[in-house]
């Protein structure tokens, strides 16, 4: 048969129809676990995934299951999840997520598998070994949504050489911190007294420890507490030290920019998560390897109350058709042996108590940090941002008074507006 225009169109039409039907036809029925030859892990870029990558070949050899790893920047990660899971995507199995940011929203959307029974059933693996605060952090409304991968606490990074030269002691209270920052602030020679996050949304999590140490919190008894006296005092303090002793352009700084200043020796103090310690101890990127030291979060009027949170959690995509294989991988990657190995090889702040009790693993951390971790097991606060479903929106509200304070504007007015907005959000999310 010769190819005519007519035949060409017929063939094209049939082909297109076939492809369309194939695409619409859905997948094959759920696979049996023994059929699984590969799984896909989606994660943000974090120390856990960086350390684990080296061991993935071993997992494939031991189990015959190849692990594909997709890593994204932290902000892109949530966009990826929202796009994929809105379309009920089953092409990835393990999802590493920021429990504080998305757990409530994802759980209500039905995107995260409930693993409560699974964590309790694995007696050899040891759910009880995970620190209590870490276990609580991944539990929302009595449902366990994943396994903690690492923990982090607020810590003070400081330049011991500068403090010694000025004859000052390491600050133990927020007043002493302010005085020390003032004494070491020397903008003429490019030295800032203190560097912290000043970008509205990014600063919220680091502002939290100040808020708690002044005796406040984002919410109290299910209502917004952003215009309490404690909150206004905390806003005032945070903005004042950055305005007077902070670097230029601080309202554009997230942790990347602020930590870069400290790593380049251009700030005397830097307060942020202790999981960043490795960046200051890396000679290729830090000029303060010899001069950096660590101190616990200073005490405010209500004592020293830093946050201690689980930044990353491994859960299971509820649309995945390889959920058992995904769970098996998670238990391997969060086993006592693996997390302790990652802690000693990659300074991953392990969520397991046994890792911190292991002298070799704890020895990979600077002594100051280990002391800080052990010292802050009690008295810490297990969240570092408002506990609502729409965390991103709440962070924007909470962040606005921080900016007003840095700019020297009316803090109580900004706090009142933020309080109203957060309350509106809490009311809108309340079950009807």
């Amino acid at each position: 048969m010769s190819i005519t225009r007519r035949n060409l169109i017929l063939a094209g039409g049939l082909g297109t129809a076939g492809l369309t039907l194939a695409a619409c036809g859905g997948g094959s029925p759920a696979k049996q676990d023994e059929d699984v030859t590969d799984i896909t892990v989606v994660s943000g870029n974090n120390p856990w995934v960086q350390g684990l990558e080296k061991h993935l070949d071993r997992y494939a050899e031991e189990t015959g299951v190849a692990v594909h790893l997709d890593t994204y920047g932290n902000e892109q990660l949530n966009d990826q999840y929202k796009v994929k899971l809105n379309a009920s995507d089953d092409t990835f199995d393990v999802m590493v997520f920021q429990v504080q940011d998305v757990a409530r929203e994802f759980a209500r959307n039905g995107w995260l598998l409930d693993v409560t029974d699974r964590v309790e059933a694995e007696s050899d693996w040891g759910w009880d070994d995970f620190q209590e605060a870490a276990r609580e952090a991944v539990t929302v409304d009595d449902v366990v949504l994943g396994v903690p991968l690492m923990t982090e606490r607020h810590v003070v990074y400081y330049r011991k050489d500068l403090l010694e030269k000025a004859g000052m002691a390491v600050p133990t209270t927020l007043d002493e911190l302010e005085a020390a920052a003032e004494a070491l602030h020397d903008p003429g020679s490019g030295m800032s007294g203190i560097a912290m996050r000043g970008q509205a949304v990014a600063a919220v999590t680091q502002f939290s420890s100040f808020l708690y140490s002044f005796g406040g919190d984002f919410q109290a008894d299910g209502a917004s507490a952003l215009n309490s006296d404690a909150a206004i005092a905390a806003y005032d303090y945070y903005g004042r030290v950055l305005r007077e002793f902070g670097p230029e352009g601080v309202t554009s700084m997230g942790w990347v920019e602020a930590s870069a200043l400290f790593a380049q020796g251009r700030a005397a103090f830097y307060l942020d998560a202790d999981s960043q310690a490795y960046t200051f101890l890396d000679e290729s990127s830090s000029s303060v390897v010899e001069t950096v030291d660590f101190a616990p979060f200073p005490a405010g009027p209500a004592g020293s109350k830093p946050y201690s949170i689980v930044p990353w959690t491994a859960g299971i995509n509820s649309f995945s058709r390889k959920q058992d294989a995904a769970w098996k991988f998670i238990t391997w990657a969060t086993s006592q042996g693996m997390l302790t190995t990652l802690m000693s090889e990659d300074t991953l702040p392990s969520p397991r108590q046994s890792s911190w009790d292991d002298d070799a693993a704890a020895g990979s951390f600077p002594a100051g940090l280990v002391t800080n971790v052990q010292a802050t097991l009690d008295g810490v606060v297990g969240h570092d941002r408002p506990q609502v479903e729409q965390v991103a929106q709440a962070r924007e509200y909470v962040g606005a008074p921080i900016i007003a304070s840095i700019n020297g504007e009316d803090v109580p007015a900004a706090a009142t507006k933020a309080d109203e907005q957060l309350q509106e959000l809490i009311d809108a999310e309340a079950p009807a």
Binding site: R6, I9, L10, G12, Q199, P247, S252, A392, Q393, I403
Partner: protein, 333 residues
């Protein structure tokens, strides 16, 4: 009286014989079905050939453009949030009235979008035309110059954002270092709420002026020589030639370049997002409509609100194109 009829089977009469009888045609005796399958479809295809050839592109446009727009219109009338698979209600035009009465975020974002576009567009047209006029005459090293001005065009927007962020960083950036060496005041650039949007518009100018110059250069090289000859015979100066000959003849090309750049500048996203992140900075100082819509959908999961915002944004783009189109017509007359 005897009446009778011819018996059955009687010979036909002469009249019948002489008339042309029914001729045997094979196709009349083919089963009806066989004929339908091939020929009927075939003749249908022949009759609808034009439609069939454009059908794939129509199907593509329907799935890739029409469906998303219609779905966005639908979502914009609902209170969908969290996930599109969650139950939601129709709320009519509530999302539209929310935005049009929002003086906190929507209207500032609209003015920022217009300011950014107008500033970038004006400077790009002026500089683009100047560069095109300079490059019009051949000179030594012309190829190198043409290639060099194209460099910003080929760079990735996110890389451009990062590069400018480093250059303009107020504490360790080289630009402020140089300003300091020249005893000039240091500037906040991207970090200063008052300067960030203008800085971003200037980065857009840096990146896209070469493209405008290229388009205008192509337009210039297609202009006929006769009007210039006539103008010089009439004693027109170089400036008069430019104003009365070059500009009117180049106007259609300029309008096309403006249209391309206006759409691009209105929907600018990548460099703004790369340099200032979500929400357009701590005080939303560079939050354009695109950044606002992105935040509403990807950060806040407010799909109804975000859809309404995008529909309003679409109308703004259509309005801007209409204005340029009217200008183009007016210029041609």
């Amino acid at each position: 009286m005897i009446t009778g009829t011819a018996p059955a089977g009687a010979e036909p009469d002469a009249a019948h014989l002489s008339a042309p009888g029914p001729v045997f045609r094979p196709e009349d005796h083919r089963p009806e079905r066989r004929r339908g399958l091939r020929d009927r479809l075939g003749s249908w295809i022949d009759r609808h050939l034009k439609v069939l050839f454009i059908a794939p592109s129509v199907a593509y446009i329907a799935t890739m453009i029409a469906f998303p727009i219609l779905y966005t219109v639908y979502l914009s009338l609902t209170n969908s949030q969290g996930a599109v698979t969650r139950p939601f209600d129709m709320v009519g035009l509530e999302n539209y009235t929310h935005w049009l009465t929002d003086t906190d975020r929507f209207w500032p974002a609209t003015w920022r979008t217009i300011y950014y576009t107008a500033l970038a567009l004006a400077l790009e047209m002026v500089f683009g035309l100047a560069i095109a006029l300079l490059l019009r005459k051949s000179f030594r090293g012309q190829g190198i110059v043409r290639a060099a001005i194209l460099a910003p065009l080929v760079a990735t927007p996110v890389a451009i954002g990062m590069m400018w962020m480093l250059l303009l960083e107020p504490n360790i950036g080289i630009v402020n270092h140089m300003l300091g060496n020249l005893s000039l005041p240091r500037l906040g650039f991207l970090t200063s709420p008052g300067q960030a949007l203008t800085t971003l518009a200037l980065i857009d100018v840096w990146q896209w002026t070469p493209m405008v110059a290229l388009i205008l250069l192509a337009g210039l090289s297609s202009l006929p020589d006769e009007p210039y000859e006539a103008a010089s015979v009439d004693g027109a100066s170089r400036l008069q030639q430019f104003w009365y000959v070059t500009l009117p003849m180049l106007w259609p090309t300029m309008a096309a370049a403006m249209m391309l750049r206006a759409v691009d500048a209105l929907k600018s996203f990548d460099v703004i997002y790369a340099t200032k992140g979500r929400g357009g900075g701590s005080e939303h100082e560079v939050e354009t409509l695109n950044i606002l819509a992105y935040g509403q959908s990807f950060e806040f999961s407010q799909y109804g609100r975000a859809s309404a915002l995008l529909m309003i944004f679409l109308m703004l783009i259509v309005a801007a194109l209409a204005v340029i189109h009217i200008l183009r017509k007016a210029g041609q007359q």
